[in-house]
Amino acid sequence: MAEALLSLEAVREHMADNPAVVALADLAVKAKFDRDELTIYVASQNIVAAATAVQKAGYNFLEDVTAVDWYPSEPRFQVTYHIVSMKLKQRIRLAALLDGEDPVIDSITSVWPSANFYEREIWDLFGIRLIGHPNLTRIMMPTDWTGHPLRKDYPVEGYR
C-alpha cells in the first residue's frame, strides 16, 4: 500500500544518509516520500543549482523532464525532473512549481544536454518558457500553431 506522505522535516530526518537529500539540504523547500518515490521541490530560480548539486551527488542520468498543469489552482504549473543514479540504483524526482501568469524556468541543458528535446516539448505543449535554452522552438506542433495543447484550458478540438 501507499506509504504515508512524509514532509520536508520528516524526509530530512528519515533519509539523512540519502545523497540527494544531503545535496539539496539548503535548496529544498518541500519534500515528500510517497509510494517509495522521493520528490524534492525546489524554488524555480534554483533549479540549475539543484540539478548541479544532485549531479555532483552521483545522480548522473536525467531520465525525463515533463510538466503538469494543475489548472485552476495556483501555482499552476509543475515542472518535473526524473533523475537516476546508476551507481546507487535510485531514482529521485525534482519538482518546481510555477505560477500561471508567465511561467518561466531556467533551462538545465547546461547540466544535461539531454534536456534539450524535453524542454522544447514543454515549451511547445505547455507554453512554459525555458530561459537559456539553445533552441527554444516548437517540436511537435506546426510552427504556426496557436496555443499550447496540453494546457487544461486548451479545448480538445483545438482553436481551428
Binding site: T143, P149, K152
Partner: protein
C-alpha cells in the same frame, strides 16, 4: 474561460532550422556545403522523420532532426479517458512492442492503487514481454539489414516474427495492437495449447538467430558498413540520455530489468550483454545476444509457470468474467460501475520505467483522486536517442547516416506523441 494566448516569440520555420544546421558548421571558410533533406518519407527512416543534413560532398557536417509529423495527441487524449481506457492507447505509442507499453502503464497505475498482482499474471507478463523483445529485435534486424542492402535476412526475420504474431493473436486476439494487459492482471487466460506452442517456438529460435548471424557476421560488406561507424562515447551517451542497446554498446552497464527490477525480474537468471566499441557493430551484436537471453528468460518463465488466478482480487477494479456477471448481482453492479464510471485512483504521482527493446520506457502518471488521469507522460527511448544522432553522424559519410539510424532502432510512433 480566456483563450490561451500564443506568445510564440520564436517560431522560426524551416529556414531557421537550416540556419541552425549551418551554425553548427565549425569552419567558416567552408562555403561549398549543401543542405540535404532526408525524409520525411524515406525508406531508411522507419516512419516519418525528416533530417536536415548539411553535407560537404559526402561528409555530414550537421544533422538537425525535424519531428512532429505524426503528432497523435495521445497525452491529451488520455486526460479524457478512464484509467482502463488508456491501455489501448499505449499500444499505439510503439507498435513494435505494445506489450512493453502496456506493462509500463499498468505497473504505474497499480503502484498508485497499491495493487498486488498474482504470480501467474506476473510470469505471463514477463514471458510476453520477452517474446515482444524478440519480435521487436527481429523487425529491427530485418529492416536494418535491408537498409544496408541485405534482403534475405529481412525475409528470414519476418518468417519468425510471423510465428510470434500468431502467438500474440492466440493469446490476445490481435496481432499488433494487443491491449492484453489489464490494471490488476491480464485480460484472459491463454488458450490451452498456447504454452506448448511457445515451447516449440523457443526450441527452434536459437538456431534461427544463429542462422542470421551466419548470414551477416562474416559478410565483408556488412562488417565494413558497421564497424567503426557512429561512435558514441559512454560520457556522451549518458549526457544525451541514450538508453537501451545503444547505451550498453557504449560500455555503460545499465539494464532496468536487473538494476531496478519490476514484475519479478529479480527471480530470473540472465546476462546483460555489454560491448565497449560504441559503434553500429556493437549495437548489432548486443541485440543479437539479447535475443538469446530473452529466449532463456522465456524458458525460465515457462518452467516456473505457477497455477492460480490471472487477475488480482479487486472486484471494484477488475471486470468480472462473463459467467459471474450472468449469475451474481454484485458482479453485474461492479461491471456496470467500472464501465460507466471507471474507478477512482488515490491522488499521487508515480514514475514507472521498464526496459523496452529500445531502452527506458517510462510512464509518469499523476492522479488527482478521480477516475481519469490528470496527466500521463510517456518517456520514450527513441526520443532521447534521436538527440545523439548528430554526435554519432558528424564527420561521417552520408551512407553512414542510414546505418546509424538503423542502429538506434527508431520507432516514430514514440517520438511524435
Amino acid at each position: 474561460m480566456a483563450p490561451v494566448a500564443a506568445p510564440d516569440m520564436i517560431n522560426p520555420g524551416v529556414d531557421d532550422v537550416v540556419a541552425d544546421a549551418r551554425r553548427h558548421n565549425q569552419d567558416p571558410s567552408n562555403d561549398h556545403t549543401m543542405v540535404l533533406n532526408m525524409g520525411p518519407q524515406h525508406p531508411s527512416t522507419h516512419g516519418v522523420l525528416r533530417l536536415v543534413l548539411e553535407i560537404d560532398g559526402e561528409t555530414v557536417l550537421s544533422v538537425a532532426p525535424d519531428i512532429g509529423y505524426l503528432h497523435t495527441g495521445i497525452e491529451k487524449t488520455t486526460e479524457a479517458k478512464f484509467y482502463q481506457q488508456v491501455v489501448p492507447l499505449t499500444d499505439r505509442i510503439d507498435y513494435l512492442c505494445p506489450m512493453t507499453n502496456n506493462l509500463a502503464y499498468v505497473l504505474a497505475v497499480e503502484k498508485l492503487l497499491g495493487l498486488e498482482i498474482p504470480e501467474r499474471a506476473e510470469t505471463i507478463r514477463i514471458l510476453l514481454n520477452e517474446l515482444t523483445r524478440i519480435q521487436s529485435h527481429l523487425v529491427w534486424l530485418g529492416t536494418h539489414a535491408m537498409d544496408i542492402g541485405a534482403l534475405t535476412v529481412f525475409l528470414y526475420c519476418f518468417r519468425e516474427r510471423e510465428e510470434l504474431l500468431r502467438l500474440f493473436e492466440a493469446v490476445a486476439g490481435q496481432r499488433m495492437m494487443t491491449s492484453y494487459f489489464r490494471i490488476g492482471g491480464l485480460s484472459m487466460e491463454p488458450p490451452i495449447d498456447w504454452f506448448a506452442r511457445v515451447q516449440k517456438f523457443l526450441k527452434i529460435m536459437p538456431s534461427k538467430i544463429a542462422e542470421y548471424e551466419g548470414l551477416l557476421s562474416g559478410n565483408p560488406i556488412w562488417i565494413n558498413r558497421l564497424k567503426g561507424v557512429g561512435y558514441l562515447s559512454p560520457e556522451d551517451a549518458i549526457a544525451l540520455g541514450v538508453t537501451g542497446p545503444p547505451l550498453r554498446a557504449s560500455g555503460v552497464d545499465w539494464d532496468l530489468r536487473r538494476d531496478m527490477p519490476y514484475s519479478g525480474y529479480e527471480k530470473y537468471q540472465f546476462k546483460v550483454p555489454i560491448r565497449t566499441e560504441g559503434d553500429v557493430w556493437a549495437r548489432y551484436v548486443i541485440r543479437l545476444e539479447e535475443m538469446y537471453e530473452s529466449v532463456k528468460i522465456c524458458q525460465q518463465a515457462l518452467d516456473r509457470m505457477p497455477e492460480g488466478p490471472i487477475v488480482a482480487d479487486a472486484p471494484k477494479i477488475i471486470l468480472p468474467n462473463r459467467e459471474q456477471m450472468k449469475t451474481q448481482m454484485e458482479s453485474l453492479i461492479h461491471h456496470f460501475k467500472i464501465v460507466t464510471e471507471g474507478f477512482a485512483v488515490p491522488a499521487g504521482e508515480v514514475f514507472q520505467a521498464v526496459e523496452s527493446p529500445r531502452g527506458v520506457m517510462g510512464y509518469y502518471v499523476v492522479s488527482d483522486g478521480t477516475a481519469k488521469p490528470l496527466r500521463v507522460h510517456m518517456r520514450n527511448p527513441s526520443y532521447a536517442t534521436l538527440q545523439a544522432l548528430e554526435t554519432m553522424c558528424k564527420g561521417k559519410l552520408l551512407g553512414d547516416v542510414v546505418a546509424v539510424i538503423g542502429s538506434i532502432d527508431i520507432v516514430l510512433g514514440e517520438i511524435d506523441r
